[in-house]
C-alpha cells in the first residue's frame, strides 16, 4: 500500500487521463445541451488532475511519507517531490494555455489526457532509481509527446512529429545500449547497486563504464536538447502546436536533466569515473551555449529563436552538472544550482511561450519582424514577454539573474572559471537576440493599432508565470531551500 501511496501523484494523473477520455466518450449521452460545456469540462478535469497531484505530493511531505516504492524501483524523496510539483505545475499551465488552441478540435480529450500522461512519465523519470523503470518512464513521456507534437496534423506539425519520433526512437535505442553496458558490468538494474559495483571497479572495467556513460549522455542528451543531440529542436519547436513547444522546452528538458542527475550521480557518481563525465559535460556545456546562442542570433522566427535559445540554456544547466563532479562528488552546489535553474526556467520559458501564443493568435505570424509595436497594442502582454526575455538574459530583478549568479557560482567553486567565463560571454551574445525582440515591440511602429487581447485562460497562465519569475527574482529563498533539499538526496 505504501507503494501505491507514494506513487499517488503519478497515479492520479494517469487515472485522470483515463477519466478524461472516458468522459469524452460518454459525453453524447448527456444530451445536446451539454455539448458546449464539453471543452471547458475536459480542461477543468485536467486541471483538477494536476491540482490533485500537487496536493498529493504536498500530503506526502506533510505526513513524511517518503521512501522507496515498488521494491526499490522508484524513490519518492525530496528530489522526486520537487519535480512532482514542477511537472504537475507545468502540465497545469500547459493545459490552461491550450484551451484556445483546442477550440473546435475533436480531440481535446486526447490532448489533455496525453499532457497528463506525459507529466506522469516525467515525474516517474525523476523518481525512478532502476534502469527498467527509467526506460518505461522515458517511453511513457516520449510516446505521449510524439503524438502531441503531431497534433495539428498539418504538414509542418506532422513532419515535426515524425522527426521527433524517429530521433526519439534512436535515442531510446542508444540509451538502452548504455543501460545494457551498466547491467552487464553490475549485474543489476538498481542504480544504487550499480553505484556500489562502480565504486569497487578497477581499471579493467573503466573503459566499459566510460562507454556506458557516453551512450547514456547521448541518449539523455536528446531529451535535454544539448549540442550535438539538438538537431530535432528547431523543426520540432516550430512545427508543434505552441503550447506543446512550451511543454517540450521546459517539461521534457527538465525531465532529461532530472534523470541524468539520478543516473550519473547515483550509479556513476564515484570519483574515479565522475571526473571523466564531468569533463564531457563541461565541454558539452560550452559547445551547447555557444552553438545555441550563435545560431539563435540568425533566427527570424521567434519559435525557432527560442528553440535555439533553449539549447543554449540547456548548456547553462550543464555547467551546474559539470560542477557537480569536477571538484568533489560531495559538492552538492552544482546539483542544487541545476535544480534551481530548472525551476526558474519553467516560469520564464512558459511565460515567454504563452505570450507568443497570445500575440501570434492575433497577428497570425511567428516572425520577429511582425512583433513591431506590440507594446502599443497590448502593453501588459509586452511587459510580460519583456520580463520573461530579461529573465532569460539573466538581468535583475528577475529569477534568471539569481539562477545565473547561482550556477556560475557553482562553476567557480568547482574550479571551472573558464567555463564560467564562456558562460558569461555567451550571456552577452544572448542579450543581443533577446533584447532585439523587446526593442522591436517597444520602439518599432505597429502595423495596425488593433488591440491584442489575450484570452482569459492565457492571461491567467501568463500572470502565474510572470508573478513567479518576479517573486523568485526578489525572494529567491524558498526555491533555493527546496532545490538544496532536493540536491541533498545525493549527499
Amino acid at each position: 500500500m505504501d507503494s501505491v501511496n507514494r506513487f499517488g501523484p503519478e497515479l492520479i494523473l494517469l487515472a485522470m487521463a483515463g477519466i478524461i477520455v472516458l468522459a469524452d466518450l460518454a459525453w453524447p449521452l448527456a444530451g445536446a445541451g451539454a455539448e458546449k460545456l464539453r471543452r471547458g469540462a475536459l480542461a477543468a478535469l485536467a486541471l483538477t488532475g494536476a491540482a490533485a497531484s500537487i496536493l498529493w505530493s504536498a500530503l506526502l511531505i506533510a505526513f513524511d511519507e517518503q521512501g522507496t516504492a515498488f521494491r526499490g524501483t522508484i524513490s519518492v524523496d525530496e528530489f522526486a517531490l520537487f519535480f512532482n510539483f514542477l511537472f504537475a505545475g507545468i502540465a497545469a499551465i500547459v493545459v490552461l494555455s491550450s484551451i484556445d488552441l483546442l477550440r473546435g478540435s475533436r480531440f481535446a480529450a486526447e490532448y489533455h489526457a496525453l499532457v497528463l500522461a506525459s507529466a506522469a512519465g516525467m515525474m516517474l523519470l525523476a523518481a525512478a532509481v532502476d534502469l527498467i523503470a527509467i526506460f518505461v518512464a522515458l517511453e511513457l513521456t516520449g510516446i505521449s509527446l510524439y503524438i502531441l507534437v503531431a497534433f495539428l496534423k498539418d504538414g509542418r506539425s506532422s513532419e515535426a512529429g515524425l522527426k521527433y519520433l524517429l530521433l526519439g526512437a534512436i535515442s531510446s535505442a542508444v540509451t538502452l545500449y548504455g543501460m545494457a553496458y551498466l547491467f552487464g558490468i553490475a549485474g543489476s538494474t538498481s542504480l544504487e547497486e550499480i553505484g556500489r559495483v562502480v565504486s569497487e571497479a578497477d581499471g579493467d572495467t573503466r573503459s566499459a563504464l566510460v562507454l556506458a556513460a557516453v551512450f547514456l549522455a547521448a541518449g539523455f542528451g536528446f531529451k535535454m536538447a544539448i549540442v550535438p543531440f539538438q538537431m530535432w529542436v528547431p523543426d520540432v519547436y516550430e512545427g508543434a502546436p505552441t503550447p506543446v513547444t512550451a511543454y517540450l522546452s521546459v517539461g521534457s528538458k527538465a525531465a532529461g536533466f532530472a534523470v541524468v542527475m539520478r543516473v550519473f550521480l547515483v550509479a556513476l557518481g564515484d570519483g574515479f569515473i565522475s571526473s571523466d563525465w564531468a569533463n564531457v559535460f563541461a565541454v558539452l556545456a560550452a559547445v551547447s551555449m555557444s552553438v545555441g546562442n550563435v545560431v539563435a542570433l540568425a533566427q527570424g522566427n521567434i519559435k525557432r529563436m527560442l528553440g535555439y535559445s533553449s539549447i543554449a540554456q540547456a548548456g547553462t544547466f550543464l555547467i551546474g552538472l559539470a560542477a557537480v563532479a569536477a571538484a568533489d562528488p560531495q559538492l552538492l552546489l552544482g546539483t542544487s544550482s541545476v535544480v534551481f535553474f530548472l525551476g526558474t526556467y519553467a516560469f520564464t520559458n512558459l511565460g515567454a511561450f504563452i505570450a507568443i501564443i497570445a500575440i501570434s493568435n492575433k497577428i497570425g505570424s511567428d516572425e520577429i519582424a511582425d512583433y513591431a509595436g506590440v507594446a502599443r497594442r497590448s502593453p501588459l502582454l509586452a511587459l510580460g514577454l519583456t520580463l520573461c526575455l530579461l529573465s532569460l538574459t539573466g538581468i535583475p530583478p528577475t529569477a534568471g539573474f539569481i539562477a545565473k549568479v547561482y550556477v556560475f557560482n557553482a562553476a567557480v567553486q568547482a574550479n571551472l572559471v573558464w567555463l564560467a567565463i564562456v558562460g558569461v560571454l555567451n550571456s552577452v551574445v544572448a542579450a543581443y537576440y533577446y533584447l532585439r525582440v523587446i526593442l522591436n515591440m517597444y520602439a518599432a511602429e505597429p502595423a495596425s493599432e488593433e488591440r491584442i487581447q489575450p484570452g482569459y485562460y492565457l492571461g491567467l497562465a501568463m500572470a502565474i508565470s510572470v508573478v513567479g519569475l518576479l517573486f523568485i527574482g526578489i525572494f529567491p529563498g524558498p526555491l533555493l531551500e527546496a532545490s538544496e533539499a532536493a540536491a541533498g538526496v545525493f549527499a
Binding site: 559538492l331 552538492l332 552546489l333 542544487s336 530579461l390 538581468i395 535583475p396 530583478p397 539573474f401 539569481i402 545565473k404 549568479v405 547561482y406 556560475f408 557560482n409 567557480v412 567553486q413 574550479n415 572559471v417 564560467a420 567565463i421 558569461v424 560571454l425 550571456s427 552577452v428 542579450a431 543581443y432 533584447l435 526593442l439 517597444y442 520602439a443 529567491p476 529563498g477 533555493l480 531551500e481 538544496e484 540536491a487 541533498g488
Partner: protein
C-alpha cells in the same frame, strides 16, 4: 531611510504606470515631485552624516539568500560613506535637473519618466550597495532604462548607439560577475566592507591579478578609458538631452566609484603594482580625448569627447594611490558631473532651438540667447579649470596628488588642461560670438522656469564648490582616507 530613498523612484514608476492615457501629462509632475523629495532627503543625509567617525552610515542590512551547502550568502545591504554619499547627492541633484529639462517631452511621456525613475533607483543602488552581488544587481538593472531611453527618445543613429552601449557594458559586467564570484568564493563573503578588510587574498582559484583584471575591465569600459571609450560619443550624442546629462553626470561615475571602492579597496597589492599602468592609460585618455575633441564639428559630440578626457583625470588621480590623489579623483567625479551635466543641458537647449548641432552652421548665438551664452561661458570656464570654479579644485588636487608618484605622466596630463582651454574657448567663440546669421533671427533665449531653474542651480553649486571646496572635500576625504590607508 536610505532604502526609502533608493526605492522611492519605484513608487513613482508604479504611480506613473497607473496614470490613464488622458492624464499622461501628470507623469512629469510625479517625476518632478519624487525627484525633489529624493534630492531633499539626500541633502538630509548629507547634513546628518557624522564625519567624525566617518565610515558607512545609515546602514540597512538583511540576509537575502543563504545557501546551506557552501559559504554563499547574499545580503540586501546598503549604506553610505563619504565617497558614496557625495555621489548619491549628485545623483539626486542631476535627476531633478534631468526631469525638469525634459518638461516638454511629448513622445510617450509616461514611459519616458518611468524609465528615468527606474534609472534613478539603479544608480542610487549602485552607489549605496554594500554587498558586491547587490552592487552588480543594480549595475545591471541600469542597462534596461538606458537602452530604452536612447533607442526610443534618441536622435540620429539611436538604435546603433543603444546597442553599442548595452553590449559594451554587458561585456564588461560579465567579466565582473566572474570576478565577483571568485572573490566571494575565496573570501567567503560578498560584503564589501568585509572584503575591504581582508589582508591578502590567498588561494583563489585564479591569480589575484586576474581577478583585478576582470573587475577593472568593467570599470574602465564604464569610465571610460581609451581604448574602451568608443561607445561613449555615440551614446552621448544620440541620447536625448536629459539622458546625456545623466550619462555624463552620473553613469560614468559608476566606473570611477567601482575602481576606488572595489578594485582598490579589495586588492590594494595589485593596485600598487598596476598603478603606473593605470596612470599611463589615464594620460592616454586625457590627451587622446582632448585631441579628438578639438576636431569635433558636432556640438554634442564635442562635449562627449571632452568627457573622455576629463574622466582620465579621475583615473590619473586614483593611480596616485594617496589621500590627495584619491580625493582629487573623487572630487573630479563630482565636479565633472556638475559641469559636464550643465554643458549638456546647454547644448541641448541650443539644439532645441536651432535643430542643428553642427558648429559650422551656428554663430552669434549670444545675440539671441544671452542667458544661455552666459551660462555656457561659466560652464566652459569651469570645465577648463578656472580658479574659483569647481573644476579648478578637483584638477589641482589630482595633479598635486599625482605629481610625486608619476612625475612625467602628470606633466603630460597637464597638457590636457591647455587643450581643454583650446577646444572650449574655440567652441564658445564659434557658436556664441561672431555675426548672427539671418537664419537664427527667430530663435529665443531660455526663459521658462524649468529651463532657468536648473541652470541657475547648477551654476550656483559650481560656484559654491569652487569658492568653498571644503563643503565637498571634507566629506570625500572621510570616504577616501580608509582606501588610501589600505593602499599605503
Amino acid at each position: 531611510m536610505l532604502s526609502f530613498i533608493i526605492f522611492l523612484p519605484i513608487a513613482a514608476v508604479a504611480a506613473i504606470a497607473l496614470l490613464p492615457r488622458e492624464r499622461e501629462s501628470w507623469a512629469k509632475w510625479i517625476a518632478a515631485g519624487v525627484s525633489t523629495v529624493i534630492l531633499a532627503l539626500t541633502l538630509v543625509l548629507f547634513a546628518a552624516y557624522d564625519r567624525e567617525p566617518g565610515g558607512f552610515q545609515f546602514m540597512d542590512r538583511h540576509v537575502w539568500l543563504a545557501s546551506d551547502f557552501v559559504e554563499f550568502t547574499l545580503q540586501y545591504a546598503v549604506g553610505v560613506d563619504g565617497l558614496s554619499l557625495a555621489l548619491v547627492v549628485l545623483t539626486g541633484f542631476l535627476f531633478l535637473v534631468a526631469v525638469l529639462i525634459s518638461w516638454r517631452i511629448e513622445l510617450r511621456p509616461r514611459e519616458y519618466f518611468a524609465w528615468i525613475m527606474l534609472l534613478e533607483t539603479s544608480l542610487l543602488g549602485v552607489f549605496s550597495a554594500m554587498d558586491f552581488v547587490l552592487f552588480f544587481l543594480f549595475w545591471e538593472i541600469e542597462l534596461i532604462p538606458m537602452y530604452f531611453l536612447i533607442s526610443i527618445w534618441g536622435t540620429g543613429r539611436k538604435l546603433y548607439s543603444a546597442w553599442k552601449y548595452v553590449l559594451y557594458t554587458l561585456f564588461g559586467s560579465s567579466f565582473m560577475l566572474v570576478g565577483i564570484l571568485v572573490l566571494g568564493f575565496t573570501a567567503g563573503t560578498f560584503d564589501i566592507r568585509e572584503l575591504g578588510q581582508i589582508d591578502e587574498i590567498k588561494d583563489a582559484v585564479i591569480p589575484v591579478q586576474a581577478i583585478f583584471f576582470l573587475l577593472i575591465i568593467a570599470f574602465c569600459i564604464k569610465l571610460p578609458v581609451v581604448p574602451f571609450h568608443t561607445w561613449l560619443p555615440d551614446a552621448h550624442t544620440d541620447a536625448p538631452t536629459a539622458v546625456s546629462v545623466i550619462l555624463a553626470g552620473v553613469l560614468l561615475k559608476m566606473g570611477g566609484y567601482g575602481i576606488l571602492r572595489l578594485s582598490f579597496s579589495i586588492m590594494p597589492d595589485v593596485a600598487r603594482d598596476a598603478s603606473v599602468w593605470l596612470a599611463a592609460f589615464a594620460v592616454v585618455s586625457i590627451l587622446y580625448g582632448a585631441i579628438v575633441t578639438l576636431m569635433q564639428t558636432d556640438l554634442k559630440r564635442l562635449i562627449a569627447y571632452s568627457s573622455v578626457s576629463h574622466m582620465g583625470y579621475v583615473l590619473l588621480g586614483a593611480s596616485a594611490l594617496g589621500t590627495v590623489g584619491l580625493t582629487g579623483a573623487a572630487m573630479q567625479m563630482f565636479t565633472h558631473g556638475l559641469i559636464t551635466g550643465l554643458l549638456f543641458v546647454l547644448v541641448g537647449m541650443v539644439y532645441d532651438r536651432t535643430h542643428t548641432r553642427n558648429i559650422g552652421e551656428l554663430s552669434g548665438m549670444a545675440h539671441r540667447m544671452p542667458f544661455i551664452a552666459t551660462m555656457m561661458v561659466i560652464a566652459g570656464l569651469a570645465s577648463l579649470g578656472l580658479p574659483s570654479l569647481a573644476g579648478f579644485v578637483s584638477e589641482v588636487t589630482v595633479f598635486l596628488g599625482t605629481f610625486e608618484h608619476h612625475e612625467f605622466l602628470t606633466i603630460l596630463g597637464v597638457i590636457g588642461i591647455v587643450l581643454t582651454a583650446g577646444y572650449i574657448l574655440w567652441m564658445i567663440q564659434r557658436v556664441f560670438w561672431g555675426e548672427l546669421s539671418e537664419r537664427w533671427e527667430g530663435i529665443g533665449d531660455a526663459t521658462a522656469w524649468w529651463e532657468r531653474g536648473p541652470l541657475l542651480a547648477m551654476v550656483t553649486v559650481i560656484l559654491l564648490v569652487g569658492i568653498y571646496p571644503a563643503v565637498m572635500l571634507d566629506l570625500l576625504e572621510t570616504g577616501v582616507v580608509p582606501i588610501a590607508e589600505r593602499l599605503a
